[in-house]
Structure formats: C-alpha cells, structure tokens
C-alpha cells in the first residue's frame, strides 16, 4: 500500500522521508497564544499553547478543521494579525530572532525574503489590475537591488519553474486571463521569488479543482525540494499531509492535540480526533459500498479548554476525567498527545502511510 490510498489524491512521495534534515531548528514556536477581543470584552482565545519547531528543509503539516486556529497561527508567524484587538503572546524564534519582538520595518524585510506565504484563494490573492509580470518582479525588486530587465528575466524563470506554459507571454497578462490553477502557480512563483527559507502554505489547494490540486501539490513539492525550503503546510486534507509532510500537528479548537511523525501518526493515531479524521477519509482498499465514518457532532459542540477537553462532546472515548480537568500535552517518545483516554492500536483503525 502506498500513500495514494489516503485521501485518494494520488500524490506520490517517495522522497519525503529520505531527505536529509538538518538538526538545527529554523523556526521555533513556543507557547503561542492569540486572543481576539475588544477593550472591556472578555477575549476569545483562538490559539493557545501552540509549540512546535521546524528544521531547514523539513515539511511540517498543521491539520485541523475550520476554526481550529491553524490560519491564525500562520498569520501570527508572519506578523500579519491586525495591530488592534489582538493579543499575541509566547515566542516565535526564526533563525535566532524573536519575530514577536521585531519592529514592523524588520518584519517587512523578513516577509517575502525569509518567510513567504501562499494563500488559500488564488482568485482574490492577485491584484486584478496589475500584470502578472509586474506582480512577480516588484516582489523581487522590493527585496533586492535589481534592475527591471533583470527582475523580469528572473520572473520568467520563476514562471518556468512552476511549469507555467508560455511564461514570456503570461508576464504581460492580467490575473483574470488565467485559470485558478495557473493563478496558484503564479502565487507559488511569487512566494518563491526571493528563495525564502520558510514557506507557509495556507490551504493552497482548497479553492482548486480536484484534478488541479494534485498538479499544484506536485509543483509545490518539486520547487521546495529544489530550493531546500522548509514548508509549513496548513490544511484540513489528510491526503495532502500524507503526500508531503515529515511531521504532523493536529489542532483542535486552537490547541495541538496530537503531534508525531507522519508514519506513526497515520499508522497508529492515538487521539480520538485524529482517529476520527483518518476513519472519515475514503480508502481505496475498503469494501465497496461501505459508508464513511464521520466524526459525530459539529465543531461548534465544544467545551472550553479551561473546563476540560474541547473534543469531549464529540468523543467516543470520553471518560469522566475529560470534563473535570484540562488535558496537558504529554510527550511520549516521538509523539505528543493531549488526551486522558487515548486510542489503543486495535481500536484506532489507523492507515498505513
């Protein structure tokens, strides 16, 4: 069995595990907490106790459903959360520098040069009245001392790298003249324009056709492999993670509930939420006509983390302790888990990655 069975996306990843990863952490996020709220109101905690690190060249997946705090985490790393009404605490160390303490001017240098981001919706993430070529070259010239002609040459080169057909012609075109998949290629080209050390991809395939999704993932995988860029892949799609990521963090309601290397996580999910996610993915090796197993309830059935485990109302494994105190993230060997009554191997119904 190969990766293809998970999510049925057909994303091959024979080289994912064999890549050499340096041991030095490129980005370390420690106890990240993001609260939203106006003055005088009780703040809402969107992200709490998020801790992870990513090494150079590593591919890390952050998985969770809508509202689990994965996008907020990425915006916090980029320093793109609004200045008012948001409180960010904790530590985000990038290459030895605390980004949360950095000035706005310093962050502008970091953005687009050291850390770049690809957004979910390629239809709205490009400026409709500016040509593709200008949008790529202005990012190059914004961070480097480079002439217009040279920047344009580099832009064409970048478009060629993301397998854009007829890149020279595309330079003079406007976003509305391109399809969704091609626009996402442009966004990938822009993100990679200055060869960042870290690329954050926030659901880069969600707004695309299923057939185009696989193409875009393939391109993304190739370009980050070519440049040795570290990748944070934010997604709700386990198929994407299976084909791309070295390690995975599963988030639920703003907290990490389980993190592990990809293989052990898929083979033996311990948190009931992870188990539920894996069980709800259609599999090629399951008997015909077998219904999918959804996770009961909806993401709105939650218990505040301060009162217990947020997943309790939807959890099949719940015990009394779950509503009595907050589970802590416990590290057991290679895995971190936030659960009082985790799944055992037999009940997990894991998948082989």
């Amino acid at each position: 069995m190969t990766d293809d069975t998970i999510g049925g996306r057909g994303v091959n990843a024979p080289d994912v595990v064999r890549r050499d990863l340096s041991t030095e952490a490129l980005l370390t996020v420690r106890d990240l907490r993001v609260e939203f709220g106006k003055k005088g109101q009780r703040p809402t905690t969107a992200v709490d106790e998020v801790t992870f690190e990513i090494r150079r060249g590593e591919h890390l997946g952050i998985v969770g459903e809508s509202g689990s705090g994965k996008s907020v985490t990425s915006l916090a790393i980029m320093g793109l959360l609004p200045a008012t009404g948001v409180r960010v605490s904790g530590q985000i160390m990038f290459d030895g520098e605390d980004l949360l303490a950095a000035s706005e001017k310093r962050m502008r240098d970091v953005r687009g040069r050291d850390i770049a981001m690809i957004f979910q919706d390629p239809m709205t993430s490009l400026n409709p009245v500016v040509t593709i070529g200008t949008q790529i070259s202005e990012v190059i010239r914004g961070h480097r001392d480079m002439g217009k002609a040279e920047a344009n040459e580099r832009a064409v080169e970048l478009l060629r790298k993301v397998a854009m057909p007829d890149p020279g012609r595309r330079m003079k075109e406007y976003p509305h003249q391109l399809s969704g998949g091609m626009r996402q290629r442009v966004l990938i080209a822009i993100a990679l324009a200055n060869e960042p050390q870290l690329l954050i991809a926030d659901e880069p395939t969600t707004a695309l056709d299923v057939t185009i999704q696989a193409q875009i993932l393939e391109i993304l995988k190739q370009v980050v492999a070519d440049t040795g860029t570290a990748l944070i892949m934010i997604t709700h799609d386990l198929g994407v993670v299976a084909g791309l990521c070295d390690s995975v963090h599963v988030m639920y309601q703003g907290r990490v509930v389980e993190s592990a290397q990809r293989r052990p996580l898929f083979a033996e999910p311990r948190h009931p939420y992870t188990g539920g996610l894996l069980a709800s993915v259609p599999r090629l090796d399951s008997p015909r006509g077998q219904p999918l197993k959804p996770i009961p309830g909806s993401p709105t059935d939650v218990l505040p983390w301060t009162q217990g485990c947020a997943f309790t109302p939807r959890c099949a494994n719940r015990i009394d302790t779950c509503t009595e105190k907050t589970p802590a993230l416990k590290i057991e060997g290679q895995r971190a888990l936030r659960c009082f009554n985790p799944l055992t191997l037999s009940s997990a119904g894991g998948a082989t990655p």
């Binding site: 980029m78 793109l80 962050m107 502008r108 240098d109 970091v110 953005r111 687009g112 040069r113 770049a116 981001m117 957004f119 919706d121 709205t124 993430s125 490009l126 400026n127 409709p128 009245v129 500016v130 040509t131 202005e138 990012v139 914004g142 961070h143 060629r160 790298k161 993301v162 397998a163 057909p165 007829d166 012609r169 003079k172 075109e173 406007y174 976003p175 509305h176 003249q177 399809s179 966004l187 822009i190 993100a191 324009a193 193409q215 393939e218 391109i219 190739q222 370009v223 070519d226 440049t227």
Partner: protein
C-alpha cells in the same frame, strides 16, 4: 537547481487563444471603449461640445451679444425661429443660436476645470486618508467633514466674495464644493480595497506601504471616482448657472452662459418656452455626454466586467 517538468503543455486547449493577450490595462480599455456604441455616442457628444466651445466664434453666424434685434423684443413676445435666426432671438435681442454656441465655452470650461481641480485636490486628500493609516485619516476626514458641513452654495458664495467676482473664483468655488465628495469616495473605496486578499498577500511579501497603496490599492479604487467626476461635470455646469443666478458668476454680462440664459428665460416661459428649452437642452445633452462616456470608461476599466 533542476527544473520541474511541465505538467501542462503550452498547447493545452484549456488555455485557448486570448484576444486580449499582452495588452496593457489602458490599451485594453481603449479597445473596449472603441467597440462600445454607448462610449462612442458619449465621446461624440463631448467632442461636439468641446469643438463648439473652442471654435464658437467661427461657427456662430453673429457676434456674441449683438442685440441686433433688440427692438423686436416686447414684454409679451420674443421672435421665434425664422430665416436668418435658426432658433429665434433671445430676450435681449441677440441671435439665440449664436448665444448658445458662445455659452458652451463658459459652461464647459468652468465645469471641466472646476471638476478637475476638485478631483485632484479631493483625490490627494482621499489618498492621504485612505492610505496613511488611522491617525492621518482622522485628521483629514474631520477637515473634509467641516467642508461638508457648510452648504456647498454658501461655501461657493463665500469663496467668490473673498476672491472677487471672476471666472477663476467661480472655478475654485465649485471645485471646493466637490473636494469632499471625491475625498470621501476615494477614501471609502481605498479602505474597502485595503481589506482585500491581494493586499494581505502583498503585505505578506514584504512590499512597502507606499508601493501597496499607490501600486495596488489606488488603481483598484479609481473606478468609482472617475464615474463620479463625469457625473460632477454635469452638476458643475448647473452650479455655474446657479452662481450666475445669484449674480456671482462671470462679472461681464456680455459673456454668454447657459445658466444665465436659463434664468433670463424664466419670466418669459409662458409666452416663449424656446428661450428655456434650448439652453436647458444644451445643459442636459452635454451632461449626458459626460455621463455616457464616464460609464463606458468605468466598464472598460473594470477587469471584472470584461467579457
């Protein structure tokens, strides 16, 4: 660095042949404008009025304000159309057709200059307010609010009173009444554009605020302002008339002006409606020309509206 193999061949049928490929924004807009019959009609109307304004003295059969037929104008009747006088005689005894042609000069020049002035100043304030953050926005918009709190006619009257009665004072007066409209409109559009995804994306790429505001937000925000400017051209023509009515317009009574012709026609409306009809029609048609052209321009410039 190895290159990714192309996953889609350049001859992919999905890509098709795009007739607009490789054209710049303005060239594309120009091409679409030329194909739009509404734009052509608007442009012809505007062109006609501009030509009339420029060549009025060559086109008009009689001199301005000649009063050749003053003796034929009585309290109850004004001669109508007849041989030699295409549209008849105005109430002061000059050829109505000639007066209309001369009037184009005043109305259009004052209208265009005052609108451009209002647009430039208003746009600068709008860019400051919409592009430089909350504090500048606060200050600029309060100034605009003060301008807006004074009734536009009162503001215009005060400005003419201060600057003296001449055509430049009228232009500045009408422009200052338009400044807050443009400033608010552009600021509003820019603020809403600033929340869009491509601005967040541009910010995430480390572009300077100046680049984002001038290169991304502003070009996407100009459409409504351009349309507003064409609409304001027609109201400016009417405001010129309003100021004339109050005796604050062009000080030289020998200069023909549509608004003043309309005012003069008021007390003869029952017996000689043609005196009001022709200047009124001239104002309406010139305003229509600007509006049609502006609407077509907006459509042509709007990338979302392209077929």
């Amino acid at each position: 660095m190895t290159m990714a193999p192309p996953l889609m061949s350049p001859s992919d049928p999905m890509l098709g042949v795009d007739p607009e490929h490789g054209t710049s924004l303005w060239r594309g807009a120009w091409r679409r404008l030329r194909r739009n019959p509404v734009a052509i009609l608007g442009a012809l109307l505007v062109l006609a009025f501009v030509l009339i304004a420029v060549f009025a003295s060559a086109l008009a059969p009689y001199a301005a304000n000649s009063r050749e037929w003053a003796s034929e104008v009585t309290l109850t009747s004004v001669p109508g159309p007849r041989e030699g006088n295409l549209l008849g005689i105005d109430r002061y005894g000059s050829d109505l057709y000639s007066q209309l042609l001369y009037g184009a000069r005043q109305s259009l020049i004052i209208g265009v200059v005052s609108t451009l002035l209002g647009l430039v100043v208003g746009a600068m304030l709008g860019i400051l307010a919409g592009g430089l953050g909350a504090k500048v926005d606060m200050v600029v918009m309060r100034i605009v609010d003060i301008l807006l709190s004074i009734p536009s006619l009162l503001l215009a009257v005060s400005i003419v009173a201060v600057l003296g009665q001449n055509r430049y004072a009228v232009m500045i007066a009408i422009a200052s009444a338009q400044v807050p409209v443009f400033a608010r409109l552009l600021r509003g559009t820019m603020l809403s554009q600033a929340r869009s995804d491509y601005v967040l994306a541009a910010t995430s790429l480390g572009l300077r605020r100046r680049t984002i505001v001038m290169g991304h937000v502003l070009p996407n925000s100009l459409g409504p302002t351009i349309v507003q400017a064409t609409l304001n051209l027609s109201t400016a023509v009417i405001e010129v008339a309003a100021l004339s009515f109050l005796g604050l317009g062009e000080s030289d009574p020998a200069v023909a002006e549509w608004g003043r012709m309309l005012v003069a026609a008021q007390d003869r409306f029952a017996s000689s409606p043609q005196l009001a009809l022709w200047p009124g029609l001239a104002i309406a048609v010139s305003a229509l020309g600007f509006t049609l052209l502006g609407e077509a321009l907006r459509e042509a410039l709007d990338p979302k509206g392209r077929r």
